[in-house]
Amino acid sequence: MKTAYALAIAALFALPAAAQETRSFTDDLGRTVEIPLEAQRIASLQDLAITVPLIELGVMPIASHGRTTPEGEGFIRGSKVLTGVDFDNSDIEFLGNLPVDIEAVAAAEPDLIITTPWQTAPVEQLEAIAPVIVLDDEARGDFEIYDVLAEITGTQDRLAVLKDRYAGQVEQIRRLIDTVDISVNVIQGVDGQVLSWHTYGALGKLLRDAGFTFPERVEAIPEGQFERMSPETLPELDADFLFVTYRTDTGETPADAFAHLEAVMPNFCEFLFACTSNQMIVMPREEASASSYYGLGVLSYTVLSHISGRQFEHKPE
């Protein structure tokens, strides 16, 4: 009943949007949608994949999906450290998590809703509020989604600047580090298993764009995917430099990154060349995993400061 009421209200709110100039857009579900030519009130239903990129493109959504702290406070995951913007210091309305609150979406009066397949709020209900675009961030890739968001919001110029800056950062790494001769990998201990990715978010993109090599076992993982592996395969995931991450939004510290691996494999350090050689690099997961050009900048200087201009050993074959 509440949802029906909300949808009725939403239909009224949708009227002004209908009056805007529109264009056709085909989303990642193959749906052709009439969207505003210049959307002014965008609701994002995925914080990391949509909200953060929108803010980096200079488009402030009027409402966003977010997570909740144990105290029940909403936050945009990673945004505080990546963009400086969060619910508590902006006019962005908190829409809830999975699924977002449909009534809250309606109350925000968006003229465009951007969601992903990960979000469980039904598209059919959202369509009654405003035009809905579904973008498959996982299929597109963490940074390819910037291209489509820039096209939707008319911010291609801003994206070009971000891309140029990143290209300069990658060039700097290539100039200062002989990346082709250095193997790297990103691992994480979870639930008795070791996680490894073909390309781990922004960090993986930077490492691959810069030309570092990866262990054979990692290259065997299909692009865009990760695998949970038995700790028995730990040496196969070893490299000259190993990256591990910890979650800042849950109050973790670098020690937690090692503790998770220790829980998976007692005395793991003794069996990893990178660890015994003091060539493990620990960093916050938000910057390492988020789709963020700011994050890429932070990571490029982290990689530079940890690997360039220092003595290190190569993992024996």
């Binding site: 997570r67 909740t68 144990p70 029940g72 998590n97 999975l98 979870v190 639930d191 008795g192 298993q193 695998e227 949970r228 592996m229 038995s230 700790p231 028995e232 395969t233 730990l234 040496p235 196969e236 979650r247 939004d249 849950t250 829980a263 998976v264 494999m265 007692p266 005395n267 003794e270 069996f271």
Partner: protein, 341 residues
């Protein structure tokens, strides 16, 4: 339902029952060795033997055997045995073939208590987890019992099963709500809640082991009386069994066995339901045989299931609980159909 449980196959002759014990122990031993010999990394059998006889902590292959595979195999044996015996006792005392720690709400109660204590109240002490799980299992068992007793007709096998299903569903919903309220803290419990032997902390066994051993001995000691109780309260009382006291002792044993298992490996389904049925096909209705056979067969079954979970798609692993459900559900349907013929 009552009739099926109360009048299963006649007891096997002692000679037949005795002859199965060494066979079952041999199968268990073979599966135990296989469990520590195979895994994501292929190890020569000589390396496995070396690891067991001359452990070198600097040798990664030895560490795999001693620190990863061996503790996991031990936990599989303990959990498999405990859940099977708990299921057998529950089926005997309730005269309900569908009774098991999962269906009567004990597993859900233990899981709910551990989830609330760790995720919402930040409990990290391994020493406390078994107690929390026991309190949850006991509370759930009592709630199920009183609900079943409260409905017209009293605590019949059917009302107990329905009350157990309702309480399990209710507690699962509560866990989901807590998950929604604190999504991130639940990430750490996600795999545990599916029932998994991967990465389990062997120190939990240090705290649960003594209690599980006592409960197992108590179960073996009570087995003869459970056989009498399975014939009905009136018959048991007529034969001089103090049924109320016996049921209380069985409840304690079942709660400890279930809570210890959940603390070790999360909620694993179908083991306590299926194994006693399989055992009955061989040894009949005598719980003096059903209980020890269930312990051995349950341990062997969970070892076998965990081997499959580890080597089905190497180097990835499947949660053991998913395999127990995938194997247990059709096996149980087959057993029910076979008994009904």
């Amino acid at each position: 339902m009552n009739d099926i449980a109360a009048s299963p196959a006649p007891s096997a002759p002692p000679l037949r029952a005795w002859s199965g014990v060494p066979l079952l122990i041999a199968v268990l031993g073979a599966l135990f060795l296989l469990h520590i010999a195979v895994g994501a990394k292929s190890l020569p059998i000589g390396t496995v033997v070396d690891a067991l006889t001359a452990f070198d902590p600097a040798e990664f292959d030895h560490v795999i055997v001693m620190n990863l595979r061996l503790p996991r195999a031990v936990i599989a044996v303990v959990v498999g045995a405990c859940l099977s015996v708990a299921g057998a006792l529950m089926q005997g005392v309730t005269r309900n073939p569908l009774a098991d720690p999962g269906l009567l709400g004990l597993t859900a109660g233990a899981s709910f208590a551990v989830v609330m204590a760790t995720a919402l109240f930040g409990l990290t002490s391994m020493a406390l987890i078994p107690w929390i799980a026991a309190a949850g299992a006991l509370a759930a068992a009592l709630v199920v019992y009183f609900i079943a007793r409260w409905v017209p007709g009293g605590a019949t096998p059917l009302s107990l099963t329905l009350a157990g299903a309702a309480i399990s569903a209710f507690l699962a919903a509560c866990i989901s709500i807590a998950h929604l309220l604190s999504e991130d803290t639940f990430m750490n419990l996600r795999v545990w809640l599916t029932g998994s032997l991967a990465g389990r902390d062997i120190t939990v066994l240090v705290y649960t082991g003594p209690w599980l051993a006592i409960a197992m001995l108590l179960s073996l000691a009570l087995a003869r009386q459970v056989t009498v109780l399975a014939m009905g309260d009136e018959v048991a009382q007529g034969l001089g069994v103090r049924t109320t006291s016996l049921k209380l002792q069985i409840l304690v044993a079942v709660v400890v066995l279930t809570a210890g298992s959940v603390a070790l490996a999360g909620p694993l389904g179908f083991i306590g339901l299926v194994i006693p049925h399989v055992v009955r096909l061989y040894v009949g209705a005598d719980y003096r045989w059903i209980v020890p056979y269930s312990a051995l067969a349950g341990a062997a079954y969970l070892l076998a299931v965990d081997i499959v979970a580890r080597i089905a798609i190497p180097p990835q692993e499947i949660s053991t609980g998913i395999i127990t459900a995938m194997v247990g559900a059709p096996l149980f349907v087959h057993l029910v159909r076979r008994r009904s013929r």
